[in-house]
Symmetry: C2
Subunit: 333 residues, 2 copies
DNA sequence: AAAGAAAAGCGAAACGGTTCGCTTGAGTTT
DNA sequence: AAACTCAAGCGAACCGTTTCGCTTTTCTTT
């Protein structure tokens, strides 16, 4: 039913090769160009991407594998990624790992079976084995937001350690000496932020108390439970560094439900300025990441890799963060 | 590099036709079946979906066009849709309309150019013109969450009018006579909820005051601004029905920033029990939708339509809602 | 004006599957 | 044992592009 390049051939009297050349941006006589364009318009012709793909071995689609599609953080990144891809004629096939490594590995296989030209991934954990099939299939991979242990892939992210260091200093500067940290112990990003926290304490001649050290999952629940435990301590911390969006959310919930309030009874340094910050009182002080740039860079990078013929060595784009000041940190004298 | 059906032919001595037959679930002698399976395993063979698609004219991909990919509501639906599609071997190509009708129309064209087998859409507005190209191309469409004016498509949604009616009654039952409503005036769902609100008032012998009637966009800003205006009135409402997640969020923000509090000074009846609502105090009373079922039904419905040879008349699945009680509504005597 | 270079066009062979219509052969019926 | 039935297998055509290697045309240069 839909018209093909052969219909255009009939209509213009030109050969398939010439028409194909035109379609792919090759040079054609102005006269013929006009003929072809007219035919395309009249026949409402659209290239059959499948036929093209069969020859070129390209699908013009990119797989995007996220750790959790229902998180607002991912949603935003998806928007920016999708924009760039669509503008370049690429479709975005999404897979959701639901924070599970087995799902994640299966999703990579799925994407490869769909013959995507490249994959952008926000990994669940810090291990990279699940990406081996992509490497064997020579499908380029770009990591986003989270790197991996012994990472040998392109990656777009922030300097997590430094950001955490700066954030912790914000607590220290305000006189907080008893600081807790709530973090994800299962991915590279979480661990790096934890290290930044420790380094800042160390440089200030402090250490973290055992009860104040809260590793766990990247989840609202973890933030919630940890903050509850912290508030129940006899010897409570005065400051808490919550190292990602979900954990910050959970921690705020816990404070809200308690008899304590922020920043009077407990100060919080948060992460990721998403909608949360606007609806809670007081306004949170937090580390903000350049989400838009992260998404766009990741998309552009994967497109670049696809276009390259040679296999270039991996690049890391490390973007800057800033601290947005609110009123969630009390100044201690 | 990757092996083809021809490699299997060499290895087994069978014909292409037979192997293809096996791949598509046809009957083959047990002996040959074994040979083929062995060859597939050893050669690590995977069907080339593009070659298959060229013949069958199917891509095994579904376009999902959402009004706003960064909303947590959409994110959740995407998760449930994606699960069903992947289990059936279909990939999910996502487009984000960014709440803009022009983007939405362009995205449909994009999806059609990608030759998706079907489209699931959460429309931006209540007009359906943008779907015409899909109809002409005979690509099935399933609407999700929001219907359209003069709708002639399959649709999976809740009974918005009834849900709003029940919700409003919750305010009325608690003695509220001065009720405001904040809603989206740009999509079918919002308008239906508004009607349900009006009907409930009417049945109680009440009407809505002009100042209490707040149409606008489906956005946090709209909820925020409207609530601010309501709180600034000399003659304030005692109850407010916020008819979607974003608007509820914004309204809560506005109350939090004001000198008033909920439910002492103003009662709120909200919509959509998503995670953010847990972080605000008091716990909200709200209408909850069966998100999982909505996503799954939509996905299964589109798959069913694709499988059907004849063009069956459209179906509407109208799912039930329930009210989750919190403490955001004060009992007036 | 002839020779040479560059640009544009062409035919045909891929790409990797599915499917149509026919042949083969085993099993069943009379 | 001949005739018939039915399952399984096969060859070849086809899906709609791209691309290779060649020919033709046009433009420069001397």
């Amino acid at each position: 039913m839909p018209s093909t390049i052969r219909d255009i051939k009939e209509r213009t009297g030109l050969s398939l090769a010439t028409i194909s050349k035109y379609l792919n941006g090759g040079n054609v006589l102005p006269e013929n160009k006009e003929k072809i364009e007219e035919a395309i318009k009249e026949l409402n012709y659209q290239v059959n991407e499948m036929a093209r793909g069969l020859v070129t071995n390209k699908t013009r689609s990119i797989g995007v594998l996220v750790h959790n599609v229902a998180s607002i953080f991912c949603g935003l990144l998806l928007r920016y990624i999708g924009d760039v891809l669509k503008d370049n004629g690429y479709s975005m096939i999404i897979c959701d790992a639901r924070d599970d490594e087995a799902n994640q590995a299966e999703s990579i296989q799925f994407l490869l079976s769909k013959k995507v030209d490249g994959i952008i991934v926000i990994p669940v954990a810090d291990k990279g084995e699940f990406l081996k099939p992509a490497v064997s299939a020579k499908v380029p991979v770009v990591l986003l937001d989270r790197s991996l242990r012994n990472c040998d892939f392109d990656c777009v992210r922030i300097n997590n350690r430094e950001a955490a260091y700066k954030a912790t200093n914000e607590l220290l500067k305000n006189g907080h000496k008893k600081n807790a940290v709530i973090y994800s112990a299962h991915n590279y990003t979480g661990l790096q932020r934890y290290r930044g926290f420790l380094e800042a304490l160390e440089d200030a001649g402090l250490t973290v108390e055992k009860d104040f050290d809260k590793p766990g999952f990247h989840s609202i629940e973890h933030g919630y439970e940890s903050m509850k435990q912290l508030l129940a301590l006899k010897n409570k911390p005065t400051g808490v560094f919550t190292t990602n969006y979900e954990v910050t959310l959970g921690a705020v919930m816990a404070v809200n439900e308690s008899k304590y309030s922020c920043p009077e009874d407990i100060s919080i340094m948060g992460f990721d300025n998403l909608i949360l910050t606007h609806i809670v009182q007081p306004k949170m002080t937090m580390v903000v990441q350049p989400m838009k740039e992260m998404g766009q860079r990741a998309a552009n990078l994967i497109l670049k890799r696809i276009a390259e013929k040679d296999h270039e060595p991996p690049i890391e784009y490390i973007l800057g963060t800033k601290i947005e000041k609110g009123n969630s940190i009390k100044k201690l004298k």
